[in-house]
């Protein structure tokens, strides 16, 4: 490690949501770092806290009902949680940009595509209208939009899902952000269009040298895009490792279970018409979690120790962390 701070450092972040009189944690004690030029994937199932974590970095947690209870979020060493709203507004869009799953939710249906892309450079970089429009056109070319001149004056509903996601990416990149947060960027897309968008994201990542925080549930997308991976379960990080190390030799039973539950193409080692490995049961809702490991009720390796005490996230192997008392007993995935 060098003396320079990492691009992004999240330290002991805890976020909770209030419903009625009860406050339940959505994210508990999450820490990680991300360097420039690196892609860190956050994987987990619904309710694991992966999206809440990415929204917290943007300070977009709706408050109320949400609240960041503890922790620090450092961008180049500067604590974002200590900023006032207008300073944070300057960082959003300028230094940090975000891409969501459903492009239509981040596009204004009554504004042309060109105006929307130009808006961010006008606001953040103070360019005039003509310059901004030219910049918007350049951005459309950069995201390999077919017939870009014509697209500038079209409305979002006139475009396909894949093209809309390109527009959102163009908007995100308009101010050359140093951190790009992509929350399920290809989940709503068809597989052939997903391949195009992933390809585009790879190209852009190498051009920008930005850090990418990729939130996804798809381990295939993780393997294609990520350098390192955080596995979330019930609001906590249960495993953190370089992507190869994680896929080859997961050290947490939940990660092992996810890999086993995923159907694979037979040309890629899958088996046809056999039972998939199941993880029995469901993710425990916040509030019904015991003092021990949250995964224990669904875990084949669980012992009394697991039910009594939360295992710490510890290094099990160079750069490979897991929160499990039984990491050494896990078998390698089939």
């Amino acid at each position: 490690m060098t003396a320079n701070p990492p691009l992004l450092a999240v330290e002991q972040l805890t976020v909770s949501f209030r419903s009625g009189r009860r406050e339940s944690p959505a994210v508990e004690d999450v820490s990680f770092t991300l360097d420039a030029g690196e892609t860190l994937a956050i994987v987990g199932e619904s309710g694991s806290g992966k999206s809440v974590t990415s929204l917290a970095v943007m300070r977009l947690i709706p408050d109320p009902p949400g609240r960041i209870n503890a922790g620090r979020i450092l961008l180049n060493g500067k604590d974002l949680l200590a900023l006032n709203d207008s300073d944070m507004q300057r960082i959003r869009g300028n230094d940090i940009a975000m891409i969501f799953q459903e492009p239509m939710t981040s596009l204004n249906p009554v504004m042309t595509v060109g105006t929307q892309i130009a808006e961010s450079v006008r606001l953040h970089q103070g360019r005039n209208t003509a310059e901004a429009r030219q910049h918007a056109l350049d951005m459309l070319r950069r995201v390999q939009m077919p017939s870009p001149e014509q697209r500038l004056d079209q409305y979002p509903h006139e475009l396909s899902g894949g093209m809309r996601q390109r527009i959102v990416i163009a908007m995100a990149l308009a101010c050359n952000p140093m951190l790009l947060i992509a929350d399920e960027p290809t989940t709503a897309l068809d597989v052939t269009v997903q391949a195009q968008v992933l390809d585009l994201m790879r190209t852009i990542r190498s051009e920008l040298d930005a850090g990418v925080l990729l939130v996804t549930h798809d381990l295939g997308v993780v393997a294609e895009m990520a350098d390192r991976v955080l596995v979330f379960y019930a609001g906590r990080v249960v495993e953190s490792a370089p992507v190869r190390s994680l896929m080859r030799r997961p050290r947490h039973p939940y990660t092992l279970g996810l890999l086993g539950a995923m159907p694979r193409l037979s040309t890629r080692g899958g088996t046809r018409h056999e039972r998939l490995l199941e993880i029995p049961g469901n993710v425990p809702p916040p509030g019904s979690r015991g003092p021990g490991c949250y995964f224990a009720p669904r875990c084949a390796y669980a012992t009394q120790e697991c039910r009594d005490a939360q295992p710490p996230l510890e290094e099990k192997h160079a750069g490979h962390l897991a929160a499990c008392w039984h990491s050494d007993e896990l078998e390698e995935p089939a």
């Binding site: 199932e45 619904s46 390999q144 077919p146 396909s160 899902g161 894949g162 093209m163 068809d190 597989v191 052939t192 269009v193 997903q194 391949a195 195009q196 992933l198 390809d199 549930h217 798809d218 381990l219 295939g220 997308v221 993780v222 393997a223 294609e224 992507v243 190869r244 896929m247 279970g257 996810l258 890999l259 086993g260 539950a261 995923m262 159907p263 694979r264 193409l265 037979s266 040309t267 890629r268 899958g270 088996t271 046809r272 018409h273 039972r275 998939l276 490995l277 199941e278 993880i279 029995p280 469901n282």
Partner: protein, 335 residues
């Protein structure tokens, strides 16, 4: 092979109305050919996977088989009877042979009624009452892995995976010969998805039900299907036994689709063929072969003549492409 279900020449067209501005400027309504001449066969106890991207017409095929849509042309023959020609009343009695499970089970459950009554409803429609009905519902709950104590609960008390179990219990009640499964696991998390896929495989083995499994996830479809049909813009472009389709696909679209699936191996070094462009609009499909606008093999002949679905070398394998071959697909040069 004798078929339980035989679909021939199935077509379903929708009229996409021109808006008020369109009509004032003399624009005509568009005819959207969602399904355009589809043939399918499913044997008793068999799973046919139907794959394709959004808008290819795969769900409409399923809905036409159940007569939730009335087909514009073609026949749907179940066990020798043509469903397409039946009146609604006649169709009702046949519904016990064909059932459907949707992607979002919440949309098919009444939030104000207990889940037990939702599962009981089809049984009551066919005259079951009293203790027999209660026993049958309890059996169904047990069979899909739900507890007897959950019968009187309401839909919002169930997780996504449990709701899908309810959807399956409800479809299973009348002991149908065929269940149309329309994206049954695509809204579920991967650990729960595995539970539902396993349940479907178990139920098929126990009851010998045939499935039409409609999905966009190629790995899931391969896992569960005996045979697979690939659709593109309202037409079947390739159909084959699962092992053949995935090991030796012949249609360029099938090859591209398989190449686009992300694989959980960071060292995977496939020569990825990335298809250019998006699916064209089904209201204005390209002339000739509908895939030609995105196909790396297309030439002027493909624009002229539509390739028919013809038998390939192997048994039960059919492809609709003038240049079908088992070789790898060349990378698209235009970008």
């Amino acid at each position: 092979m004798s078929s339980l279900l035989e679909v021939r020449g199935l077509s379903r067209h929708f009229r996409a109305k021109a808006g008020i501005v369109g009509r004032l400027t003399g624009q005509r309504d568009d005819l959207l050919r969602a399904v355009d001449g589809v043939d399918l066969d499913i044997a008793a106890g068999e799973t046919l996977g139907l794959v394709g991207e959004s808008g290819c017409g795969k769900s409409t095929v399923g809905r036409c088989i159940l007569r939730l849509e009335r087909p514009d042309a073609g026949t749907v023959v179940l066990d020798g009877r043509d469903l397409a020609g039946l009146s609604d009343g006649q169709m009702r009695s046949l519904r016990k042979d064909v059932q459907i499970v949707f992607q979002d089970p919440m949309a098919s459950l009444n939030p104000r009624r207990s889940v037990g009554s939702a599962v009981a409803e089809p049984l009551m429609n066919f005259g079951m009452t009293g203790t027999r009905l209660r026993e049958a519902v309890a059996d169904l709950f047990a069979r899909v892995g739900l507890g007897r104590d959950q019968i009187d609960r309401f839909p919002h008390e169930f997780s996504g995976g449990q709701r899908q179990r309810l959807g399956i219990a409800r479809a299973l009640g009348l002991r149908p010969r065929l269940i149309v499964l329309d994206e049954p696991v695509s809204a579920l998390d991967v650990s729960v998805q595995a539970q539902i896929i396993n349940l479907l495989i178990d139920l098929q083995q126990e009851f010998g039900i045939a499935y039409l499994f409609i999905a966009h996830d190629l790995a899931v479809v391969e896992h569960i299907s005996h045979r697979v049909a690939v659709m593109y813009l309202g037409k079947v472009v390739e159909t084959a036994p699962t092992a053949t389709l995935y090991r030796a696909p012949q249609h360029p679209y099938t090859k591209a689709l398989l190449a686009a699936v992300p694989v959980d191996d960071p060292d995977d070094s496939r020569n990825r063929v990335i298809l250019q462009g998006d699916l064209p609009s089904p209201s204005n499909p390209p002339s000739g072969c509908r895939f030609r606008t995105r196909c790396p093999l297309a030439d002027p002949y493909c624009a002229e003549k539509e390739p028919p679905l013809v038998a390939a070398d192997e048994e039960q394998h059919a492809v609709a492409c003038h240049y079908a071959s088992t070789g790898p697909l060349p990378q698209n040069t235009s970008a």
